[in-house]
C-alpha cells in the first residue's frame, strides 16, 4: 500500500523495532480552514467598514436589517469567531499534528468541526441582521446556535485531545499548552455565560440578572479576548515564529512562567469592564489589581517572541512573514500594556464609554491578531499548496498598507476618545458643565470618524491584495496534493522514551 493508515500504538508495538512507522498528516483540513479564514476576514472587515461609515453618515444605515445596532455584533462575531476562529483552527490542525507526530485522531471529526463552524457563522450572519440577539457582547447568538457551538466545540476537543493521547512525541511543546488552555477555557466560558431559559425558538432570557449578569458577561467577554484572541495566538506564535525565523524559542523557563501566570491571572480581570458601575467595589478593585498584574505575563510572551529573533533580525529584510510577526507581537506588547492602564480606575473613569476603547481593541485585533494571522498564512500557503507565493511585491504592499492603516485607524480614535471623555467632564468656573448638550461632544469628533474610515479602508485594501495574491498562488498549485508522509524509526522505548527537548521543532 502506498498510503498506510496511521497505526494505533498497539499495532506499532507489535511490529519489529527495525521497521519504520509511516503516517501522513491531514493537510486538507488545514487548507480548508485557511480558505475560510481569508473569506470570512473579508466579510467581517467589509461589515466593519460599513458600520464605520454609518457612524459619521447616518444615511448608510439601510432599512431595518442593516443598521449599526444590528451590524455591529455581526462585525465583532465575524472577525472574532469567523476570521480569527478559522485561523486558530488552521494553526492548531497544522501544528498539533506535527508537534504530536500524529495525524488528527479522526478525519470525520475534523470535517464535522469545519462544516459545523461554517454553518454557525452563516447562522450568525442571518440571525443578527434579523435582530435575533441576546445583546450580550460577543455572545449575541441565540440559544439554538449556542447549543450548536457547544456541540462543535466538543467535537473539536475530543479530536484534539485524542490526538494528544496517541501522539508519538512524548513531550508536549509549549504551543500545545496554550491550545489546551484555549479549548478548556472557551468551553467553560461559553457554557457559563450562555445559560438561559428560552421563551421561543430565537428568544431567551439569561438566568442571571443585573449585577450578576454583568459580572458573568464580562468574565466571559474579557476572557474571550484572553482565550480566543490571546492564548491560541501565543501558541501559534510559539510554533510558527521559530519555524519562520529558523531559531529556537528564546527561553523555555520564561514560557513556563508566563504560561501559568497568564492562565491563572487572566480570569480575574473581567470586572475591570465594570469600574464605577453598580458592581460592588471590591469586585471591580479585584479586577483592576489582577489586570495590572497581567502586564508582566503578557510581556513575557512578547519578550519570548521578539527575543526569538535575536541574531536573526536581518531576515526581516526578505521575509514578509517575519515582518508581520514582529509588527503583530509589537502591537500585542502595546495593547497588553494599554489594557492594564485602562483598567486602572482613574484612567478608566476617562476612557470608559469612549472611542479610546475602540482604538485599544483595534490595536489588538488589527495589529496582533490580523498580522499574526496573515504572517502565518503567507508562511503556510506555499507549503500547503506546494507552490511559490505569486507575488512577494504584493505581500509587501499588504504589509505597508496594513501597518499604516492600523495607525490611521487608531490614532484618530485615541484623539476622539480622549477629547470626548474630557468634554463630558468639563466644568466651568461656576461649576456648570461646559458642554451640557451631549450633541456638542459628538459633532466635535465626527471628522475623526471619517479619518478612521480611511485607515480601515487601507487595512481592508491590504487584505484584498492578500486574497488576490493567495488565490493566484493557489491557482499555480499542482492538481494533486497528497498528504505529506512522515517516517519515524520505531523507538523501542515507546511513547515515554526520547528526549523531546524544547528546541526540537522538526516537521
Amino acid at each position: 500500500m502506498e498510503t498506510p493508515a496511521s497505526p494505533t500504538p498497539a499495532q506499532t508495538a507489535r511490529r519489529a523495532p527495525a521497521q519504520l512507522d509511516v503516517f501522513r498528516y491531514d493537510d486538507g483540513i488545514v487548507r480548508m480552514f485557511v480558505i475560510a479564514t481569508v473569506t470570512w476576514g473579508i466579510v467581517g472587515m467589509l461589515v466593519g467598514l460599513l458600520i464605520a461609515v454609518q457612524m459619521p453618515f447616518w444615511k448608510a444605515n439601510l432599512g431595518p436589517y442593516l443598521t449599526f445596532g444590528r451590524l455591529r455584533p455581526l462585525h465583532t462575531n465575524a472577525v472574532i469567531f469567523a476570521f480569527a476562529g478559522n485561523a486558530i483552527f488552521a494553526a492548531i490542525y497544522y501544528s498539533t499534528q506535527r508537534l504530536c507526530k500524529a495525524r488528527m485522531f479522526s478525519d470525520v471529526m475534523s470535517r464535522v468541526h469545519f462544516w459545523g463552524w461554517q454553518a454557525i457563522i452563516v447562522a450568525a450572519a442571518i440571525t443578527l441582521p434579523l435582530g435575533l440577539t441576546t445583546s450580550k457582547e460577543y455572545a449575541e447568538l441565540e440559544w439554538p446556535i449556542d447549543l450548536a457551538i457547544t456541540v462543535v466545540w466538543v467535537v473539536f476537543a475530543v479530536n484534539f485531545f485524542w490526538t494528544l493521547y496517541k501522539r508519538r512525541e512524548p513531550h508536549m511543546y509549549v504551543a500545545l499548552w496554550f491550545y489546551i488552555a484555549t479549548i478548556i477555557t472557551v468551553a467553560v466560558l461559553h457554557v457559563g455565560n450562555s445559560l438561559a431559559i428560552p421563551a421561543s425558538l430565537f428568544k431567551s432570557y439569561p438566568v442571571y440578572a443585573g449585577v450578576q449578569d454583568a459580572l458573568v458577561q464580562w468574565w466571559y467577554g474579557h476572557n474571550a479576548v484572553a482565550f480566543f484572541l490571546t492564548t491560541p495566538f501565543l501558541g501559534l506564535m510559539y510554533y510558527f515564529l521559530p519555524k519562520a525565523a529558523e531559531r529556537p524559542v528564546f527561553s523555555y523557563r520564561l514560557s513556563i512562567i508566563h504560561f501559568w501566570s497568564l492562565v491563572f491571572i487572566y480570569i480575574w480581570a473581567g470586572p475591570h469592564h465594570l469600574n464605577y458601575t453598580a458592581l460592588p467595589e471590591w469586585a471591580a478593585t479585584l479586577g483592576m489589581v489582577f489586570s495590572v498584574m497581567l502586564w508582566m505575563p503578557s510581556w513575557g510572551g512578547m519578550i519570548n517572541g521578539l527575543f526569538t529573533l535575536r541574531g536573526a533580525w536581518y531576515k526581516l529584510r526578505d521575509s514578509v512573514v517575519l515582518r508581520m510577526f514582529v509588527i503583530g507581537i509589537t502591537f500585542y506588547g502595546m495593547a497588553t500594556f494599554e489594557g492594564p492602564l485602562l483598567s486602572v480606575k482613574s484612567v478608566n473613569a476617562l476612557s470608559h464609554y469612549t472611542d479610546w476603547t475602540v482604538a485599544h481593541v483595534h490595536a489588538g485585533a488589527l495589529g496582533w491578531n490580523g498580522f499574526i494571522i496573515f504572517g502565518m498564512i503567507y508562511w503556510l500557503v506555499p507549503r500547503l499548496w506546494r507552490t511559490e507565493l505569486w507575488s512577494p511585491r504584493l505581500a509587501n504592499w499588504h504589509f505597508w498598507l496594513g501597518t499604516l492603516g492600523i495607525l490611521v485607524y487608531i490614532i484618530p480614535m485615541y484623539v476622539a476618545g480622549v477629547t470626548q471623555g474630557l468634554m463630558w467632564r468639563a466644568f466651568d468656573d461656576a461649576g456648570r458643565l461646559v458642554y451640557p448638550d451631549f450633541m456638542e461632544t459628538v459633532t466635535q469628533i465626527v471628522p475623526l470618524y471619517w479619518v478612521r474610515v480611511v485607515g480601515g479602508s487601507m487595512y481592508f485594501t491590504g487584505v484584498l491584495l492578500a486574497a488576490v495574491n493567495l488565490t493566484m498562488s493557489i491557482r499555480n498549485a499542482p492538481k494533486l496534493l497528497p498528504d505529506p508522509a512522515v517516517a519515524m524509526p520505531l523507538s523501542p522505548a515507546g511513547r515515554h522514551g526520547g528526549d523531546g527537548g524544547h528546541a526540537a521543532l522538526a516537521d
Binding site: 454609518q54 447616518w58 449599526f68 445596532g69 444590528r70 455591529r72 455584533p73 445583546s135 450580550k136 485531545f161 513531550h171 508536549m172 499548552w177 489546551i180 478548556i184 477555557t185 467553560v188 431559559i197 428560552p198 421563551a199 421561543s200 428568544k203 432570557y205 439569561p206 438566568v207 442571571y208 440578572a209 443585573g210 449585577v211 450578576q212 449578569d213 454583568a214 459580572l215 458573568v216 458577561q217 468574565w219 523557563r253 513556563i256 492562565v263 491563572f264 480570569i267 480575574w268 473581567g270 470586572p271 464605577y276 458601575t277 453598580a278 460592588p280 469586585a283 479585584l286 464609554y353 469612549t354 463630558w424 467632564r425 468639563a426 466644568f427 458643565l433 451631549f438 450633541m439 459628538v442
Partner: protein
C-alpha cells in the same frame, strides 16, 4: 529548588491529562472567587423596595430595545461622578437592575446614557425621535427607526415571554401572566391616545413604537430622587398599571 520546579514541569509536559486538569483548576479559581460572593452575600446587591418588574408592554418594549441593538450606542449606567449626575441624573444603584435579564448597562456612549430617560420627554417626543432623529436634534447621527411606527406589535408572544422571565426569577404571578395581553393593550392604548392628543400620528396602539416608548418612559423611574432630570412631569410618564 528552581531546578526541581523546571524539572518537574518537564515531566508534566509528558502528562496531558494532569496538565489539562491543572489548567482547568487554574482557570476556575478566579471566576468562582468573584462570582460566588456576589450570589450568596445579599449586601452585594441591596434590594430597593420601590423597584418592581416591568409591565408586560414594557417587557416587550425592552425586547425591541434589545432587537434593535440600542445597547451598542447607549449605556444605562450612570457612574457616581458629579459630571455624570449633573448630565444624566442620579447614579445607578445595583438594586435597580435586579429584574434585568439581561443587563443592558452598555459599554459605549455614541449617544447619551439612557438610565434616567424615563419621564424626561413627552411620549410624542420619543415617537418623533424614533421616526426621524433629526426632527428632534438636527445634528443627530442616530439612524431612523421608522418601521417601529409601521410594524404591528406581536401581543401574542407576551405571555410566553413573561413565563420565561418568571422562570429565571422575575416574580410575575400566574394571574398577571393570564392578564398580560389585556394589560399591555390597556397601556398601549393610553400611550397611543396621549401621542394623538399631543398632535402626533393617530392609531399607534398596536404598533411596536408604543412598547418601546413604554419601556423608555419607565427607565430609571422606580427610584425617584431629588436629582430627577429637569422637564419631567407626571403626565409625561405612561402609567404602568396592574402589575405593580
Amino acid at each position: 529548588m528552581k531546578q526541581t520546579i523546571f524539572r518537574r514541569h518537564r515531566q508534566l509536559e509528558g502528562w496531558p491529562l494532569v496538565f489539562t486538569i491543572l489548567v482547568t483548576v487554574g482557570i476556575l479559581v478566579g471566576g468562582l472567587v468573584e462570582f460566588i460572593p456576589l450570589v450568596l452575600v445579599k449586601d452585594n446587591v441591596p434590594r430597593i423596595a420601590s423597584v418592581k418588574p416591568f409591565t408586560p408592554l414594557e417587557a416587550v418594549g425592552r425586547d425591541l430595545y434589545i432587537r434593535e441593538g440600542c445597547v451598542n450606542c447607549h449605556s444605562q449606567m450612570i457612574r457616581p461622578f458629579r459630571a455624570e449626575i449633573e448630565r444624566y441624573g442620579d447614579f445607578t444603584k445595583a438594586g435597580e437592575t435586579v429584574y434585568e435579564h439581561p443587563f443592558l448597562w452598555g459599554s459605549k456612549r455614541t449617544g447619551p446614557d439612557l438610565q434616567r430617560i424615563g419621564g424626561k420627554y413627552p411620549n410624542l417626543w420619543h415617537v418623533r425621535h424614533m421616526e426621524d432623529p433629526r426632527s428632534t436634534n438636527p445634528q443627530s447621527i442616530m439612524p431612523p427607526y421608522a418601521w417601529l411606527l409601521k410594524d404591528d406589535l406581536d401581543f401574542a408572544v407576551i405571555p410566553g415571554r413573561l413565563r420565561a422571565l418568571s422562570r429565571v426569577g422575575v416574580p410575575y404571578t400566574d394571574a398577571e401572566i393570564a392578564d398580560a395581553v389585556a394589560n399591555a393593550e390597556r397601556q398601549a392604548t393610553a400611550i397611543a391616545q396621549d401621542v394623538a392628543a399631543q398632535g402626533g400620528p393617530a392609531g399607534l396602539e398596536r404598533k411596536e413604537i408604543v412598547a418601546l416608548v413604554a419601556y423608555l418612559q419607565r427607565m430609571g423611574t422606580d427610584v425617584r430622587t431629588s436629582q430627577a432630570p429637569a422637564g419631567a412631569t407626571a403626565t409625561d410618564v405612561a402609567t404602568p398599571d396592574s402589575v405593580h
